[in-house]
Subunit: 161 residues, 2 copies
DNA sequence: TGTTTTTGTTAGCCTTCGCTAACATTTTAA
DNA sequence: TTAAAATGTTAGCGAAGGCTAACAAAAACA
């Protein structure tokens, strides 16, 4: 069953909130996604119908097994894209996150898998010790090092929820 | 002025049709985009209001200077993404085209520029003659060669409009 | 425990962008 | 030159996914 881009965002948000809180609230979701509570309410009913969350009026909100499965996949997509955009393409963090968020819905699981493998390959190339100067921008070792540094830098500046 | 994903598709389609025909018709656009004529009609009115096309009832359809500018940028985005997906990630052509089409709206001009530069860099790495065997999948020369071959293959199988 | 604040819901509206049905215009060709 | 075919338009519907206004329920607290 194919979810909409919006539905994916809801699942992702609920998953991340579940990790940090006992109970996920409509208000939390609305705040995190920067939309109104009635919009969240409407979306939750649909996600419930799709059996992706458990939810009753004025009751608890929690992902079902299937919902969690979906959420994980969505988050993996976004993470992989962010790593590529920040670490390889050197796009500034905030911009990269925004773009990754918008792109992820358009990419299949298989394509993300390929991107993931590619990133690993590029990051590992340095291990081959090509012998070029570290300052040569085409040197694979240098590519590796700068990519890792960029990722570390981006990760360090993270603000916890 | 930020266009919607759908509007970008219309501009792209009109641009490509203009290159192959004297006159662009509602029917042509509908057929190419696989939607109905009334949908096209509605969209054309909006594009006209946005001054991206010249268009009168029962009259000719043509891109304005600004519309053409936009169309070119959109096509560049899609092309760059396709090259990356097909040539570097080795995603199958049809799938890659579909994904590139959906992704392009989410990426800024600047990010596409970076992706384009990255692709060029990767394709050029082979020129450094790293010395590894051609059959080593981590060899930069090999990466270059296989990527170029994949692109050529994908291009050759193109069906003209 | 009763009142205020916070949280959640309902109803109904708007925009985007598809669609069908019905009709108008233009083009083609007999 | 007029009838048929092709093309284009109008009107109005529907789904998705936002929104506000108004109200209901729950929680906090005095």
């Amino acid at each position: 069953m194919k979810l909409t881009s919006s539905q994916e965002e809801y699942l992702k948000t609920i998953y991340l909130l579940e990790k940090n809180k006992q109970k996920v609230r409509v208000t939390d979701i609305a705040q995190k996604m920067n939309i109104t509570k009635p919009s969240v309410n409407k979306a939750l009913r649909i996600l419930k119908d799709l059996k992706l969350i458990n939810y009753e009026v004025y009751g608890n909100i929690e992902l079902t097994k299937e919902g969690r499965q979906n959420a994980k996949e969505i988050i993996k997509k976004q993470d992989t894209l962010e790593i590529f955009l920040i670490g390889i393409l050197e796009i500034e963090k905030k911009q990269a996150e925004e773009e990754a968020k918008a792109i992820k819905h358009a990419m299949s699981k298989e394509s993300i898998e390929k991107l993931d493998n590619y990133i690993t390959k590029i990051l590992d190339l340095g291990d081959l010790k090509c012998g070029y100067d570290k300052n040569n921008e085409k040197c694979r070792s240098c590519i590796k090092i700068t990519a890792r540094e960029r990722l570390k830098k981006a990760k360090d500046s993270e603000i916890k929820i």
